[in-house]
């Protein structure tokens, strides 16, 4: 952890805070456009292409229109909580970005001052992000409760249950990263990945995190709190205008937050991708280059979110919960024990890199083999009679195409 954190002049901190805020706002506008264009491509449509180059200004126009709409406070609402809820959803989403590392220590242009491209860092930065997301859930639950509407209430309840149960799996997937990095600070986790990115040795954790982050951000296929077929709009059914815009903003910022966290914890943070980090003695890992790699990696995760939305249907609620509690959490617990064992054996020199590789390969092959096990056979339906009873069960039944009608 750089000693600069917490000891910088005020103007540097203010500059970085404002830049992060602007970055998140612009990135949100970009993401809305990006999502619409990518989903359109997947569905053989064009998507927004009228306002600005490639339709890039469409989300800006939509945002202005949304802000200028009539702001309705419904009669049955608990007024204070109703107004507080969108604020409570949005602010923690931005606060989480205080500890995300965008790059290494760089020189601020036009000055001699060196500063890390990260607002601040804590010895427990990753837990801090977890804490901020859990405050953000309050916004959703309170919005559901205060709207005075059954749809909103059900959406809020679903969301709280969902986020709490997937946060457990998410937290457990962090544990193995902490064990490998020996720290919970984001900048130290990035610097611990200078030789191998953690998604290679900790692949199961990476998969668990990727699933949990979709559940945590209420995105398809886990977007049950706003399942429009069942709950109209879910927790934000009764919200309009800027208040609705705040929920929208919070959802997209949270999506970027979990993507940035995945990048930081598993994909080497701001480090250049495999081939590029060797170019010219790692020049691409210095200066402002890393910001580019960081954006690229988060954008890849955003693309994954959009891809999921374009591909998968929404899950049923009970299946979703039992998947979280009965599959994700036990698997991550077993994996944590395995990681602790491997670390201990490696530290005691009882386990070489070679053996570890072989064990990993064998385990991978075994997992692949489980896909070949045939599924449990469903009992075969009784064979159709040759002759069809046109009034089976007392109700007229059309015959199958090749069946003969009864010859009576």
């Amino acid at each position: 952890m750089s000693s600069l954190f917490g000891h910088e002049p005020f103007w540097v901190i203010a500059l970085k805070a404002v830049l992060i805020f602007v970055f998140l706002m612009v990135y949100t506008l970009f993401n809305i456009w990006f999502e619409r264009r990518v989903v359109a491509k997947m569905q053989h449509r064009i998507g927004p292409n009228v306002n600005g180059p490639f339709g890039l200004l469409q989300s800006l126009a939509d945002g202005v229109k949304l802000a200028l709409k009539e702001d309705i406070v419904v009669k049955a609402a608990d007024k204070i909580v109703y107004i507080l809820a969108p604020i409570l959803a949005t602010i923690p989403a931005f606060l989480a970005w205080a500890v995300i590392p965008f790059g290494p220590t760089v020189k601020i242009p036009f000055t001699d001052r060196m500063t890390p491209l990260q607002l601040t860092d804590l010895p427990v930065a990753v837990l801090y992000i977890l804490a901020m997301t859990s405050i953000g859930v309050y916004g959703i639950v309170l919005a559901g409760w205060s709207s005075g509407s059954i749809y909103a209430l059900l959406g809020g309840m679903r969301s709280s249950a969902q986020v709490i149960s997937y946060e457990v799996a998410m937290g457990l997937s962090f544990v193995s990263v902490f064990m490998y990095a020996g720290s919970m600070s984001t900048s130290e986790i990035v610097s611990a990945q200078h030789s191998t990115w953690f998604f290679v040795p900790l692949f199961p954790s990476f998969i668990i995190y990727c699933i949990a982050m979709v559940g945590e951000t209420n995105r398809a296929p886990f977007d049950l709190p706003e399942a429009e077929g069942e709950l109209v709009g879910g927790f934000h059914t009764e919200y309009s205008s800027l208040k609705f815009a705040l929920f929208f903003l919070a959802e997209y910022v949270n999506m970027v937050t979990v993507s940035a966290l995945a990048t930081t914890l598993f994909l080497g943070g701001w480090r250049a991708p495999f081939g590029l980090s060797q170019v010219n003695d790692g020049v691409l890992n210095t200066g402002y280059w890393p910001v580019l790699w960081f954006f690229g990696k988060t954008l890849a995760f955003i693309f994954m979110f959009v891809w999921l939305r374009g591909t998968l249907p929404r899950m049923r609620y009970d299946q979703f919960m039992s998947f979280g509690w009965k599959v994700l959490i036990p698997v991550s617990l077993v994996w944590i024990v395995a990681v602790a064992l491997i670390r201990k054996l490696k530290n005691e020199d009882m386990l070489g890199q070679q053996t570890l590789m072989w064990v990993a390969i064998v385990a991978g092959v075994l997992v692949l083999l489980t896909f070949l096990i045939p599924e449990k056979k469903t009992p075969e339906p009784p064979p159709e009679p040759d002759e069809v009873d046109a009034f089976a069960g007392g109700y007229p039944v059309p015959p199958m195409p090749e069946a003969k009608p009864r010859s009576s």
Partner: protein, 253 residues
Amino acid sequence: MTTFWLLAPIMVIAALGLLFAKKAVHAALCLAVVMISLAILYAVQNAPFLFVVQIIVYTGAIMMLFLFVLMLVGVESSDAVKETIRGQRFVATVIGLIFGITAVLAIGQTVTGSVKGLNAANTNGNPYGLAQLLFGKYVLAFEFTSALLITAAVGAMVLAHKELLVPRQTQAEIAARRMREYAESGRHPGPLPTPGVFARHNAVDTPALLPDGTPLESSIASSIVARGQQRDGFDDDIDKVVEQLDDVEGTDK
């Protein structure tokens, strides 16, 4: 020190709100304010680990409290002021006082002892210092607490568990049963008709009308019928419309 003087009044007001709020959810919200302010005070005191753990643990806990309030007390109910157990308030006051005195005495005794200082406690970093205490000196107390919590969780599960008397029906079985019922008694296998679609209103309290104009009772939710809130008879409405039409015609002439 500034943070303390900024947060202290907020915390005191929120704590008072916790005691005097009419709605249970407001009380839970006040509790959340107290807990988060406390967490910020920990952060100011150079205890970052305690700061985040306080927020993570208590937001989860208060969220559970919300759920319990909503499920046990209901969405819209305020606190009942009546004592349900006789002498409950008196006993609660006495026990609260005893607890307060014990807490003050215990904290007073630890504070007056020798203080090592933050630098000594945080030599290897804050999480390491805490881990050393939790898994070294106080490991037994820590394990006992976790055993207590697990017992409580298992107890809650046992109390809430419901034994299934008959095997759960699968979707295929439910569909087959509906078709069988249709064949036997003519009960429609699909979902119930929605209220109001072919009627003059589309509100949930208005029954749908069959093609011959008779209202279809099964299109209204049974809870609305039980509360006697369904709208019945359209004769008044029709009379009113006819009257209006007559008026319009009258003015035309």
